[in-house]
């Protein structure tokens, strides 16, 4: 029985934590929070130099050729530091979409640029409020040209390439790859609950787009893509939840009221334990999903949905109770509590709400039970 990361993977985690403590400190995160800068370019360069953007990209396409367990380890640390970079859209979504469905030419064109940090990618799926079900997708592709409006698109304002969910000539949902440097792309920045991660509205007006994967395979591909990304984002969420718990713990021990540390009151102790329980359950579910992702196990769809729901709820719970533990200072701009509160909600929506993933989880359990 070895349900844990290896010594090498733990060494990678320590290295990542050290790097991010220096290069993604809250001072750096706040630079993005407080300005119009879409992301921390210096950190993005550093992360690329460390090779993280190509962690799970095969060496033939310029990546490091590690496995998904290594990428999970890095994701947890990025989540812990609330890193303000387009990592998840580029690495978990664009690169994974290419690996899942890309032609050899598409992979050769984009994966080396993604692995080196030169290209930023994004997934253009949602078209406004409400669940992005296949029937809600109005964007069309006619004669290799995509038209329609996608919003919100994470990192859509800075991405070089987009994976676009659209209908070709009124058919079933398909995926397309669009080079965003071409003509016909109008990008508008959208403000969100978490300004440390940039989002945009992408209006496509006859933009050249190549099919990514088979025609009509969009819904199935999206499901597989979102499952894989859900596992990686779950690690970011677990890292963030742990950081929020650690903040609350430190503050409660140091904050005195009524002549004693507030951490000695059971109302606070039990609150912190409930945060801890949520984080531990989420971490364990994420570990199982990581195993399923790294071995391409048949359990992946159920494991990914479980990890997604568990981590989304644990992170939001830890983030909101961290503010509560901090009292008045907790809801000031000055304290860092809101960085996690914002990121918790953002990550909980980015790949679809927990409500929808719960329904999906039960659908998958029904299918498994036959």
């Amino acid at each position: 029985m070895n349900f844990d990361f290896s010594a090498d993977q733990k060494a990678l985690r320590d290295q990542a934590r050290k790097f991010l403590a220096e290069h993604a400190s809250s001072v750096r995160v706040r630079r993005i929070l407080d300005t119009d800068e879409p992301y921390d370019r210096e950190l993005w360069r550093g992360v690329a130099e460390m090779g993280w953007t190509g962690t799970a990209v095969p060496e033939t396409y310029g990546g490091a050729g590690f496995g998904y367990l290594e990428l999970c380890v890095i994701a947890e640390e990025l989540g812990r530091s609330v890193a303000p970079i387009p990592f998840s859209s580029t690495v978990y979504l664009a690169a994974e979409a290419l690996l899942l469905a890309g032609s050899e030419a598409q992979k050769r064109k984009w994966l080396p640029r993604i692995a080196s940090g030169e290209a930023i990618g994004c997934l253009a799926l949602a078209e406004g409020a409400g669940a992005p079900a296949p029937r809600a997708v109005k964007t069309r592709v006619t004669a290799g040209r995509v038209s329609g409006t996608k919003a919100p698109v994470a990192d859509g304002d800075v991405a070089d390439v987009a994976v676009v969910a659209a209908r070709a000539d009124g058919g079933d949902l398909s995926l397309f790859l669009a080079d965003l440097s071409g003509p016909g792309v109008a990008r508008t920045t959208l403000s969100t609950v978490d300004p440390t991660r940039s989002h945009a509205r992408l209006a496509f007006d006859g933009v050249a787009a190549e099919p990514l994967g088979a025609a009509g395979a969009g819904a199935a591909l999206l499901e597989r893509l979102l499952d894989r990304a859900a596992v990686l984002v779950a690690f970011e969420q677990v890292g963030g939840a742990q950081a929020a718990l650690d903040m609350a713990r430190e503050y409660a021990i140091g904050r005195f009221a009524f002549g004693r540390p507030i951490a000695s009151f059971q109302a606070i102790k039990h609150k912190l334990v409930d945060m801890y329980v949520g984080v531990e359950l989420a971490r364990s579910n994420a570990y199982h999903a990581a195993w399923a992702l790294s071995t391409d196990a048949a359990e992946l769809p159920v494991a990914a949905a479980t990890a997604r729901v568990s981590a989304t709820e644990a992170y939001f719970h830890a983030a909101k109770e961290n503010i509560q533990t901090h009292g008045g200072m907790g809801f000031t701009w000055e304290f860092d509590c809101h960085l996690h509160y914002r990121r918790a909600k953002l990550t909980g929506l980015g790949l679809g709400s927990a409500r929808r993933w719960k329904d999906l989880l039960i659908t998958r359990l029904e299918a498994r039970a036959g």
């Binding site: 029985m1 349900f3 021990i253 102790k269 039990h270 199982h288 993933w357 989880l361 039970a369």
Partner: protein, 410 residues
Amino acid sequence: MDFSDTPEEAGFRNEARAFLEAHAEPKRGAFETWQSRYPDREGLERAKDFQRKRAEAGLAGLHWPKAYGGREAPAIFQVILAQEEARYLVPRGYFEIGLGMCMPTLFAYGTEEQRRRYAPPALRGDEVWCQLFSEPGAGSDLAGLRTRAVRDGDHWVVNGQKIWTSGAHWADLAILVTRSDPKAAKHKGLTFFFLSMKSPGIETRRIKQISGQSHFNEVYLTDVRIPDSQRLGAVGQGWGVAITTLMNERLTSGELRGPDFEELFALARTVDLEDGPALANAAVRERLADYYVRTQGVRWSRYRTMTALSRGDTPGPENSLGKLVNAAKAQDMASFALDLLDMGGMVTDKDFAPMRAAFQEALLSSPGSRIAAGTDEILRNIIAERVLGLPQDIRVDREAPFDELPTSRR
């Protein structure tokens, strides 16, 4: 990451399987227990018979020292044995306290002669032990106990009442913690003994629980005489001895038995609500997903613990997490299952209620699970202090003489 056994673990798993195939019967249903097939006295006698075979096969006292018949096996072996036993009808609730808590205390504090006298019959199930700890006024706050021990030459005379004693009605021997000095501070006036449950002056009464079952007893001690040679640890040092016993409880306290997610899911597939099968209802699906996520979280947490044990770590306070989550979840799920059955949910008749009333039984047994072996609140305190390193609550009962502390209203 890899879920397979090490060669050593696989060898032990095969050994356990071979023993169970030869000596144990499969369960007739998921919830069948030894006690449900074999009532009271017959259950005990058959359990002792099975325990003797277990001991002869080298599958009892796995973590005990070899000198006393144990195997000095890593903690992971206990987990593997429990996994293999899960499919079989094996006795539970007879020997765990003796082997897991009483004997380790005797190993730590008894004389060599005592260890050699008591270990073999405990291992073989010939002598069953119980633990006389809790009292009506000392449950979560065990150190508040008031059973008095007064020295009388080379004996002690004990008077008082214990409660929540599992198996006291069939136990041959017991460990006992008493108050020997009420003038000393609360934790400093305790003294620890072991004694025969056949000693004159011991009276045992069964407690009927809301589930209708009787797992526990009240034990009244009236002028019970215990030789000083059966004292464990120094006079006034009983709290330290009791902590040794309770640390071993982590190894002993098992998983909850009863319907879990799979059963609730099966129920939701079969029962009809106003708009079709319960499983098609959005509110039902959301609740089921919550239970599944918690169930799996505890399951994979256990695998993480097993990994630590497999490396040779000792079980730590983080193991409180599983019981904390599961007990509350069991109660919640039972109530929800009955809601799905609507008006029919109230019926406990086994021929009427689905799954032979497993959820109705869980409704009535789960409150006890949230209290026995550490209440939800005490478990949260343990995790807060021992895992998260938070400070203890401010105590008002540390220094004052015990007999000057305020007590509950009578």
